[in-house]
């Protein structure tokens, strides 16, 4: 009689453990799915337009002669090639960093929902990555969205990436 009671108790314990295991597996699957989707920064048409328009803006730096001014896209290339703004007697990289930061501040001033940004350019040649510049401001407290632009330069390419954080 005592043996039968013990067996019943064991069976109930096995059942309970099985339920706990099933619940744990279901929770693990749910966690894996939710963590996997949060990792990637999604591309956005809005950010892509912002980056494209910003890259086309005419700057005050002329490498060869005035008024053949560089756009920001040309200026990034000039910076990578270590060129100088002939009209300003300034290195292209110095001018780029100073002015792009101001430009980003102006653009961010019109966007109430964006609380931080990060823009960077990397030169890729033979699978080697060289950072040209990286600018950022603000603390992110929301969702991220980004866009990338590829500029061909020399034998390699320059990858310009803009990431915005929205409330």
């Amino acid at each position: 009689m005592g043996k039968i009671k013990n067996n019943r108790g064991q069976q109930e314990m096995v059942g309970f453990v099985l339920i706990v295991v099933i619940v744990m597996v279901a929770l693990m699957v749910f966690l894996v799915i939710s963590l996997r989707t949060d990792k990637e920064i999604p591309d956005s048409v809005e950010v892509e337009n912002m980056l494209d328009v910003l890259m086309k803006k005419t700057t005050g730096c002329a490498i060869v002669f005035e008024p053949q001014y560089d756009s920001y896209e040309d200026l990034i290339k000039s910076c990578q090639e270590n060129k100088r703004c002939s009209n300003l007697d300034k290195m292209a990289c110095d001018y780029l960093k100073e002015n792009l930061r101001n430009e980003m501040e102006i653009v961010m001033g019109t966007e109430s929902v964006i609380n931080s940004y990060n823009i960077e350019a990397n030169y890729v040649f033979d699978e080697e990555l060289e950072n040209i510049f990286s600018l950022g401001s603000g603390n992110c407290s929301g969702s991220l969205s980004g866009a990338q632009r590829i500029i061909s330069s020399g034998g390699g390419k320059i990858l310009v990436r803009l990431i915005l954080c929205k409330d």
């Binding site: 279901a26 749910f30 337009n49 910003l54 086309k56 803006k57 008024p67 430009e103 102006i106």
Partner: protein
């Protein structure tokens, strides 16, 4: 005999409660999962709707009346905007099929160009970035001067 029946009933009750508890627990987990995923679906729906609206803004900026003349998209000619902001745009009222169109330049100049406004108060406005370019000259050389701008298009609100 009576004692045995009572014990059996008690066991059945225990089992029913256990099954019910497990069932309710799984329903709660399922509801939590559904709420989580539907939030993502709603967010992506809103994002898609916004991106579709921004893409349709390209149709307006690519019109010959505004475009730089280059094959590039999202580029408008400042001189054309100067002309179109006058009464000329009133002739385009049926053609635009939107409630308002406005361009403005970001930065120190902050120039704005109100191209068209139907006067409709119930509007939802969509905006995107555009290059605002014009021909300028220095020391006899003509060059393209492009600035960062925005286009604001108002559409009639269908539901409130």
């Amino acid at each position: 005999m009576i004692k045995f029946n009572k014990r059996g009933q008690w066991k059945i009750q225990q089992m029913v409660f256990m099954i019910l508890a497990v069932f309710i627990f799984f329903i709660l987990v399922g509801l939590f999962f559904l709420t989580w995923t539907s939030r993502d679906v709603r967010n992506s729906y809103e994002e898609l709707e916004k991106e579709q609206a921004i893409s349709s803004l390209k149709v307006i900026t690519d019109m010959t009346e505004f475009n730089c003349g280059s094959r590039e998209s999202l580029c408008v000619d400042k001189d054309k905007l100067r002309i179109m902001r006058g009464n000329l745009s009133l002739n385009y009222a049926d053609f635009f099929e939107v409630e308002s169109i406005e361009f403005y330049v970001l930065g120190n100049s902050s120039e704005s160009f109100l191209i068209y406004d139907s006067g409709q108060s119930q509007q939802k406005k969509y905006s995107t970035y555009v290059s605002v370019c014009e021909k300028d000259s220095l020391s006899g050389y003509v060059y393209d001067k492009c600035e960062v701008g925005k286009v604001l298009v108002g559409v009639k609100l269908v539901n409130g």
